[in-house]
């Protein structure tokens, strides 16, 4: 199998005043298509930063990321956006649903962006899949946190991404809800054969993935 995500020599540093702090220091790893991986590590170790770089939300200071054989460094912002639309799904810690859109419309956005027609049925199906078939015309403010995260999952899978990034998807939820969300995530992942990258603090969750990447102070420790 070929690697869908290849990270080599990735370094990210921020300038704060005259000082330069290196948040990620020479990170390299590969991830094969269809596998799952979790990134763990203490707060401030650079997990979110790494995820952002892998998903093409940010640019590296040094080193390269290639996603599905495309080298991200060389793409323009708009090309990166296209790439995300075509191949990447994203789940956020704080859900990031668009407050002015209904649940259904939120799920449809990635497909509508690329001009696909007749997608409402598919989007409704996805919502049913996450157990919200009867809530599709509700706005995010009318949903609970767990429900919002389920809509976010449906949205993340809507464009049938090759790879899905999730940054502490259950960080804001209680234990019980967390478990059901996690279960859902893994189920759909299996169904669609999506590659999964999860940032988490939860050891139990981490051990469910094929591989664990442990960060500390911007370096891989195991």
């Amino acid at each position: 199998m070929s690697a869908i995500l290849e990270v080599s020599g990735l370094t990210k540093s921020f300038k704060s005043g005259v000082r330069e702090i290196t948040v990620l220091d020479n990170i390299s790893f590969d991830l094969e298509e269809g596998k799952s991986m979790s990134i763990i590590g203490p707060s401030g170790s650079g997990k979110t930063t790494l995820l952002g770089l892998c998903a093409g939300l940010d640019r590296a200071s040094q080193g390269s990321v290639s996603l599905d054989n495309i080298v991200l460094n060389k793409l323009t912002e708009d090309e990166l956006a296209q790439l995300r639309n075509q191949e990447v799904g994203f789940i956020f810690q704080n859900f990031q649903l668009i407050p002015t859109l209904t649940a259904l419309e939120n799920v449809m956005v990635p497909l509508e962006l690329r001009g696909e027609k007749n997608i409402a049925a598919f989007a409704k199906e996805l919502l049913s899949r996450v157990g919200l078939g009867d809530r599709y015309d509700h706005y995010p403010s009318q949903l609970s946190g767990g429900e919002q995260q389920r809509v976010a999952i449906a949205r993340a899978f809507a464009n049938r991404p090759k790879i899905l990034f999730a940054d502490e998807p259950t960080g804001n939820l209680d234990e019980e809800t967390s478990h059901s969300i996690e279960a859902l995530l893994f189920e759909i992942n299996k169904e669609q054969g999506t590659t999964l990258v999860i940032v988490t603090h939860d050891d139990a969750l981490a051990h469910k993935t094929d591989r664990i990447l442990k960060l500390k102070g911007g370096k891989i420790v195991s």
Partner: protein, 852 residues
């Protein structure tokens, strides 16, 4: 393994931003509408006034001939000499004559007397338009007998009926028609100087044409169809012009009338423009906050693969659509306004106005509205390009700050040019347009800075010791997401506008309110012949009235200043003397001493002339200043044929607000005694009944004497000023209305922020009374500060206007200022409270869930 460096392009949906724009606006329709509504009133005023102006110019064009009533009017203070008359006659054989002058008229049936404009007419004038009378045929028949036409309002005022008589000078005429309208006359004109028509051939019988009285001789000509108005005619005109006759043709009359109204419409359009600009700033600032709110959504959409340009399109589409709706509403109101405006100013205009719908005005109004809302929104919206998808996972990045970049500067430049062009289109002069636009923008900037400065100042100096609610309310002024600058700007500009209008009105009304006090003179007798002087004095004393002043008046013209004649002044561009200086008639008096309304400011005054000396005269300092004259300059006067050489001996400052006969030029005694002259007598009459009896007595014995009743003039003037003030106030409403809409929308904008804080405070146990107090404190300071900065600007503006335009000193009226401050502040607090209602009434959870 091979690496790809490019990806397959996605076919982005073109309609998606449209769909997204609609969906996104569902929850903020009200808000967007409110932002955009702030331009509606400006657009309304613009459309209304532009249509009105177009309408007016069109009508003036259409009715140009009836404005003059003839093809050419020749006017002078001497009858046209026969040689000239025949020359004109040859080219335009159809001619009418008119002589007009001011004289007392007397209505024997009701014993009323009134100063009127007497017009003696012969011929078929007017050739275009009509002298409108009731009955209709009276306007043609009055020339055939001892008949007169009398201004309708005058007849009503003096309770005179058709068939009654009117005495003009020594002759009594039968009133056979009520005069309703004469060519070119406005209602205001008719009120100020009511007209009485008498036949030309009966003029002599009135015995009113004596030397000294101011008489105008007019000849109206109608061209025959085949006349050539270029060669011979224009030579003739030039010749008559040189002889001191003024010649008016239709084209010129049209231009004069148009010019007179251009000032009015320019003023109205600038008011409209200010309202519009105020609205634009409202749009810009609302969009600034709106854009900040949308950053989160944009970041998420970017994560999902939206291109950066699409982000701008979504919100630009919203603004465009709501801008269209707002402008369309504005245009609709504008159409209503343009129907109402002619009614509002009916009395000022000499033409009949049928409001006609102007598509051009409506469409350009809507177009301007859409363009300005898009442009002003774009300032903030372009920053959405820069929103990084990273902001979705890390909300602190960029901290929601909208940074200024090159594109914003570009948009700013485009806006400036657009505004400049808009103003230019209204006033037609680039320099003036630039001054106005830059001035207005500077004012806005200054107000914004005052707001920001205040916020910083409060932060610095607020003592901890003041009560908690006040501290909380005040600190709302500088904490993040505050609207202090914006609100101070809007409130300030609105207040500045209203303040300036109020102050100006005060200034102008104050200037004419001179007869308030009891011992002031209020009656002036004019045109007294020298032999009548003593008798009239006696008559006045017989009525127990004081003779407050008695002055001789000699009329003269200026031939040369320092040896420069009018022709030389016109030919030589380095000479800075305007032609009115030569054209005007100087009414001069002579005295041996100064009176108490004048004061020598420079030079020496000697009231006695010894024959053989040079003649030293004294002129008013204002007149000297405008002509740049100096002590010792030579002035050559033509005193009804005799040339008199004089030198400027002194400048006098004259208090024109005192009722005296004041003169630009004062001669010493011993020069003009034998020149043809008439006299003026000033007295004071305490009650109307006595005034009427006295006036009747004077008119019966001395029909040539004109009586000016200052009370009457003042009433008329106040009436006119009142009407003007109403027009101005009506227009000011648009700015104030815009200000109120902006106030509401900026409060609505900052509401969510406030709600969170208040909910927090409430959760922490603050009582609602406390919350109300905090809100009151905040808006009290905002309103008060806005009002005070606005008043400051109004004061500066009025002072400048007073100094440079109206030439008098503006003394601010403190009481009025306090009222304005109170009104603006309480309005701000009221709107603030109304908008905060649900913040306090609803449960915290409800609030947090509802508002997004």
């Amino acid at each position: 393994m091979d690496k790809r460096t490019s990806i397959q392009p996605t076919k982005y949906s073109l309609t998606w931003p449209l769909k997204m724009a609609w969906r996104d606006s569902r929850k903020s329709k009200g808000k967007l509408m409110l932002f955009i509504l702030s331009i509606s009133l400006g657009i309304a005023a613009m459309v209304g006034i532009t249509s009105f102006r177009e309408n007016l110019l069109l009508e003036i064009d259409d009715q140009a001939k009836t404005l003059l009533g003839a093809d050419v009017e020749v006017k002078g203070n001497q009858p046209l000499p026969d040689s000239l008359l025949f020359a004109f006659y040859e080219l335009a054989p159809e001619m009418s004559r008119e002589v007009y002058f001011a004289s007392m008229v007397y209505f024997p049936s009701t014993d009323g007397t009134r100063l009127a404009q007497v017009r003696a007419l012969s011929g078929k004038y007017p050739y275009y338009g009509e002298i409108e009378t009731v009955p209709e045929e009276a306007s043609r028949e009055f020339q055939n007998g001892m008949s007169a036409l009398v201004d309708e309002k005058l007849m009503i005022q003096y309770n005179v009926e058709l068939g009654d008589s009117v005495k003009v000078g020594q002759q009594t005429f039968k009133i056979i028609g009520r005069l309703q309208k004469i060519p070119g006359q406005t209602d205001i004109g008719a009120t100020a100087a009511p007209v009485v028509y008498i036949p030309y051939n009966k003029l002599d019988q009135t015995d009113l044409l004596q030397k000294g009285s101011r008489v105008n001789y007019l000849n109206y000509f109608q061209f025959s169809a085949d006349v050539d108005t270029t060669g011979k005619w224009s030579n003739l005109v030039e010749f008559a012009d040189k002889k001191g006759y003024s010649i008016d043709d239709i084209e010129e009359r049209k231009e004069d009338t148009g010019r007179a109204f251009r000032d009015l419409t320019n003023f109205l359009e600038l008011v409209a423009f200010t309202a519009l600009l105020l609205g634009c700033i409202g749009v810009a600032s609302s969009m600034y906050v709106y854009t900040k709110e949308k950053i989160g959504i944009v970041a998420t959409l970017r994560c999902l693969g939206m291109k950066s340009g699409q982000a701008i399109s979504i919100f630009l589409i919203q603004v465009g659509i709501f801008g269209f709706i707002g402008s369309a509403i504005g245009a609709l109101v504008g159409v209503g306004l343009h129907v109402y405006l002619p009614i509002l100013v009916r009395e000022f205009i000499p033409v009949e106005l049928e409001p006609s719908f102007s598509w051009l005005a409506v469409l350009s109004g809507i177009a301007i509205g859409v363009v300005v809302s898009v442009l002003f929104a774009l300032i903030s919206l372009v920053s959405l390009r820069k929103v990084s998808p990273l902001q979705a996972i890390r909300s602190d990045i960029g901290n929601g700050k909208v940074r200024i970049d090159k594109v914003q500067v570009l948009v700013g430049g485009i806006i400036f040019l657009f505004l400049l062009t808009l103003v230019y289109l209204q006033i037609g002069d680039w320099a003036d347009a630039a001054v106005f636009t830059v001035g207005l923008l500077l004012t806005i900037l200054i107000l914004g800075l005052i707001g920001r400065g205040l916020a910083l100042l409060i932060k610095r100096v607020m003592p901890d010791s003041i009560p908690y609610v006040w501290r909380q309310g005040l600190s709302n002024l500088y904490r993040p997401h505050n609207q202090t600058s914006l609100l101070v700007t809007t409130l300030g500009l609105g207040t500045a506008f209203i303040g300036t209008l109020l102050f100006m009105q005060d200034l102008l009304v104050d200037r004419v309110s001179i007869t308030g006090e009891n011992d002031r003179p209020n009656t002036v007798l004019f045109d007294i012949q020298t032999p009548q002087k003593e008798e009239l004095k006696q008559l006045t004393l017989d009525y127990d009235l004081p003779v407050l002043q008695e002055v001789p008046i000699v009329t003269m013209r200026l031939e040369e200043i320092n040896g420069i004649t009018k022709r030389e002044a016109l030919a030589d561009t380095t000479v800075n003397i305007r032609d009115w200086v030569y054209d005007r008639e100087y009414r001069v008096t002579y005295r041996d001493s100064l009176i108490d309304s004048e004061k020598i400011t420079e030079g020496l005054w000697n009231g006695n002339y010894e024959s053989g000396d040079s003649i030293f005269i004294s002129i008013s300092s204002g007149f000297a200043e405008s002509l740049e004259l100096e002590i010792g300059d030579e002035m050559l006067f033509n005193v009804q044929g005799a040339l008199v050489k004089t030198y400027i001996g002194s400048f006098r400052e004259i208090d024109w607000r005192r009722v005296q006969t004041n003169f630009l030029v004062l001669f010493p005694e011993g020069v003009l005694e034998r020149a043809p002259q008439f006299h003026v007598l000033i007295t004071r009459i305490k009650n109307n009944e006595l005034s009427a009896r006295y006036q009747q007595a004077v008119v019966r014995s001395y029909p040539n004497v004109s009586i000016i009743d200052l009370e009457l003039i003042l009433k008329t003037l106040e009436d006119i000023l009142g009407k003007i003030a109403f027009v101005i106030r009506f227009m000011a409403f648009f700015s104030i209305g815009t200000g109120v809409i902006m106030l509401i929308s900026s409060i609505v904008l900052s509401r969510f922020q406030r709600m969170r804080e208040n909910v927090l405070l409430r959760t922490l146990g603050a009582s609602s009374t406390k919350l109300w107090k905090i809100i009151i404190a905040e808006y009290f300071f905002l309103g008060g500060l806005g009002a005070l900065s606005g008043l400051l600007i109004a004061t500066i503006l009025t002072t400048l206007l007073g100094k440079f335009v109206f030439e008098f000193v503006f003394i601010p009226n403190i009481i009025q200022m306090i009222w304005v401050t109170l009104a603006v502040t309480s309005m701000t607090v009221l709107i603030g409270l109304m908008n905060s209602r649900d913040v306090i009434r609803q449960s915290p959870l409800e609030v947090l869930r509802k508002e997004i």
